[in-house]
């Protein structure tokens, strides 16, 4: 279908693909077939077995190699005369700066996390290069076009933050399996194998004595000569037994709740396990081997099987033993990783034992792994379809067919007969802090909060800046970079520990800060409002940023299912509701429609809500219109 003019635009175009994963493999293939001849591709990842069911450019023999490079080689095999340049690197690296982005005619995203998407969005805005953004989960997908000044940018709409749970639900009153997973992963696993200096809410908050907290500290500490199995049983009895008893003693909690049952190892496990499996002595695995598995040493084969309390308890004790026997060096600096079999086993078993205690249905390791690892459902077909849609939009961008740009949804269930639903793109949000110049408002206690809090909690975590610089008037308070001399670094480090009002140029009520990221070429203004008190439960950060997120309640809790950005494989879609004032002009969709249909079109926002909700990471119920 491509006309002569289109063909020459395609041939002459230089495109950047960010991501060589599920969407990326399909995209690279379709670009090459469509006649693109100069393609650059960035991806920091290496190939894993679970990629092979959809990332069709990769084979088993490529496991462990760079995705970008292998994808390039594979496509060159059927299109040998085109230019593909691969970068096995993080797109956030400083070498990919605005000048780097400026060389491209269009940037195509096939990313799996929010953080990188925001970063690329900012660079594209700064470099004034059009961006085609995409995402898929299961049978759902989406493609959007972002062009500075013409259409909304990726950050014009608030993205849903990862689902979080109230701390007390996790620590004391779980009602769903996911609560048990969060407890097992973020609290227990972190306590056992993570950084000992990290704050941890593992122990039940009880009203009585401070002495108990000292005791519990000791429980997790393993004495040099302590028998591993004894230690594992001690942990077991502590977290599933006595901790539950302590919680039960607080009658108030259980007035309207089902009381949990304390579980002790001697009730479920035989006196000594050592006789039954000599796995640790016999196995030939070496220290630090990530292939150690409690399942295999216990002879459990099927990860989809549902284990009972006894099996989970056996797995828990065995996995703990294996960690101490085989991976001792890693203890103290481990974080949960969904590809770490032993870690998944500990978390599954612990979550199930806790679930049993609280009368919550148990789950298989396969399911638990999906929940704990925020594994995104992915199939080849949706990626292929989405990649096709990206190329169609990219061709329109190259031909400057602005009237024809579409945001397209790929649906599982048809809406108005459509499985692929194109919609006119939104206009830029005039109050977007990324693509407009609207200032943000920060409420903060300027006397108590340190500059470090501002940098960590706001500038990095919320504004997503990579190499930030903070200015107050003409005074430079903080910056990050390779080219700073030692005196400056010392100065900035000293500033970090000062409260805002004690800084060389004091930040007080009414101060206006300029926060910049030189790499992203993003600059925004923050109006500071001093506030004395913050609600500990609702505003645990001790500061509130507005103009950035509409509801402070969404970022209020500390325990979260996801610190891991992989959770988001989808370009989160804006919710139509908050934008009722600027409806998409849906009339374009059905040009030959009668009036009757036009009425439906007007109420189209409801349709959009229905489509969008399932694409969010948290499984919200569909809104019934």
């Amino acid at each position: 279908m491509a006309t002569q003019q289109q063909q020459s635009a395609i041939k002459g175009a230089k495109v950047l693909m960010v991501g060589a994963g599920g969407i990326g493999c399909e995209l690279l293939k379709t670009l090459a077939l469509s006649g693109f001849e100069d393609i650059h591709i960035i991806d920091m990842d290496t190939i894993e077995v679970s990629n092979l069911n959809r990332q069709f450019l990769f084979r088993r023999s490529h496991v462990g190699q760079s995705k970008a490079k292998v994808a390039r080689d594979a496509v060159l095999r059927f299109r040998p005369h085109i230019n593909i340049k691969s970068y096995h690197a993080n797109v956030k690296n400083p070498e990919f700066d605005v000048d780097f982005f400026k060389q491209f005619d269009v940037v195509l995203n096939g990313l799996d996390n929010l953080d990188a998407r925001r970063h690329v969005n900012r660079l594209c805005l700064a470099a004034e290069v059009p961006l085609v953004e995409s995402g898929t989960t299961g049978f759902l997908g989406q493609v959007t076009v972002h062009i500075k000044g013409k259409t909304e940018c990726y950050e014009c709409q608030t993205k849903p933050t990862p689902k979080t749970y109230p701390v007390c639900t996790i620590t004391s009153t779980p009602t769903k399996f996911v609560h048990c997973i969060v407890w097992a992963k973020d609290l227990l696993f972190a306590k056992l194998f993570g950084d000992k200096n990290q704050d941890n809410d593992l122990n039940v908050r009880s009203n009585n004595s401070a002495s108990s907290s000292k005791e519990t500290e000791d429980v997790f500490e393993r004495a040099e000569d302590e028998d591993i199995e004894q230690y594992a049983r001690k942990i077991y009895d502590h977290v599933f037994g006595s901790n539950i008893e302590v919680a039960l003693s607080n009658e108030e909690t259980w007035k309207n709740r089902r009381r949990p049952r304390p579980i002790y190892s001697k009730e479920v496990l035989p006196e000594s396990l050592t006789q039954q499996n000599g796995s640790i002595q016999n196995s030939s695995v070496t220290d630090g081997d990530a292939t150690v598995s409690a399942m295999s040493s216990l002879g459990l084969k099927n990860p989809q099987e549902l284990w009972g309390l006894t099996q989970n308890s056996l797995v828990f004790v065995e996995a703990l033993k294996l960690f101490f026997a085989k991976r001792k060096k890693e203890i103290g600096h481990l974080t949960f990783d969904k590809d770490d079999q032993l870690a998944v086993e500990v978390v599954t078993a612990a979550a199930n034992i806790r679930a049993e205690s609280f009368g919550i249905p148990l789950h298989s390791l396969f399911e638990a792994k999906g929940i704990a690892g925020n594994i995104v459902h992915a199939v080849a077909t949706t990626n292929a379809i989405v990649a096709g849609l990206i190329v169609i939009e990219a061709i329109k961008v190259l031909n400057k067919d602005a009237d024809k740009f579409r945001m397209t949804y790929c649906l599982e269930h048809p809406s108005r007969k459509m499985l692929l639903m194109p919609i006119e793109p939104y206009e830029p949000n005039p109050s977007c802090y990324v693509c407009s110049e609207t200032p943000l408002v920060l409420e903060i206690n300027t006397q108590k909060s340190k500059l470090r809090d501002l940098v960590d909690k706001i500038v990095k975590a919320k504004l997503g800046m990579n190499l930030p610089l903070i200015m107050h008037g003409a005074s430079l308070l903080y910056e990050v970079g390779d080219d700073l001399d030692d005196i400056m670094v010392a100065n900035y480090n000293a500033n970090l520990e000062k409260s805002l009002s004690e800084l060389p140029s004091p930040i007080v009520n009414g101060s206006i800060l300029t926060v910049e990221d030189l790499q992203q070429e993003l600059s925004c203004k923050i109006n500071v409002k001093h506030r004395e008190e913050f609600d500990e439960e609702k505003e645990p950060e001790g500061m509130v940023l507005s103009g950035w997120t509409p509801s402070p309640a969404t970022n209020g809790e500390s325990a979260s299912t996801s610190n891991n950005d992989d959770a988001v494989d989808v370009t989160e879609i804006s919710t139509g509701s908050e934008n009722a004032s600027k409806k998409r002009r849906l009339t374009e969709i059905q040009p030959d429609d009668h009036k009757k249909e036009a009425e439906n079109v007007d109420s189209g926002d409801d349709d959009i809500m229905e489509i969008e909700n399932p694409m969010m990471v948290s499984k919200k119920k569909k809104r019934v219109a």
Binding site: L33, N302, V391, L420
Partner: protein, 322 residues
Amino acid sequence: MDGEELTEQETALYDRQIRVWGANAQRRLTKAHILVSGIKGTVAEFCKNIVLAGVGSVTLMDDRLVKEEALNANFLIPPDESAYSGKTVAETCCDSLKDFNPMVLVSAEKGDLSTFGTDFFEKFDVVVIGYGSRATKKSVNEKCRELSKRVAFYTVDCRDSCGEIFVDLQNYKYTKKKLEETVECELNFPSFQEAISVPWKLIPRRTAKLYFAMRVIEVFEENEGRKHGECSLLDLATVLEIKKKLCEANSVSESHIPNSLLERLITGNIEFPPACAIVGGILAQEVIKAVSGKGDPLKNFFFFDGQDGKGVIEDISNSLAS
């Protein structure tokens, strides 16, 4: 289903998709045998998708010898003449597909599909005819329907940036999730012949124009004895004449089918790879649904037009007549 478990290797490889459609559906997939004919761009995409999904076997049919133009949207054919010379399209694609997933049995079969007897189709659970003539679609569809077992029948056709999928699952029972419950459903599909015999004036006016345009091109190719895609702008007058006759016979106005659309369809002989990826993706999704017996299937036509970007389902069946 028998209770055979997926192997550890299968569970690891198919992890992400089992999370979408479940282990049961995956087991059914590994037992499904699929016949595919006419391997141009869209069908190549389809084959890639189902081989990755892990079906039991894929049998390819396409006796055309590989020529330069076959390479266009078909990434299964390496551009190296020494690799494909003297080989058929099916044989060449077979070699590439095997490589995508060693757990799937891929083979090539020779012959003309329309001459095969009913028993040939009995070996398959799914039959897909790519870029077939109207006569082939009809006759293979009828043979599949004569069998006592249910063979899921599909046709797919792409021209310019447009694509069409037809689905016949005969009497089809399946399950779907409704809120938290799993409910049983049943649908009756018309055959290809029955569907295209539905008088046009009974079909709602808002139906995709492509449906009618594709029927015109089919009749043109049949009347003129052309192979799929053997047409050019020179044929426009003949095509418009056929359109006129069909519209008259169906008592609908000629404005039903825009001339510009017909012109696109007869001139767009070079496949548009993004459309191939999209239509091949939708088709694979439908085949996976039909094999696993899960989820609402597409009934019974799907149309994609790269120009407006819409992917639309149309139900064209005898029920319109009642």
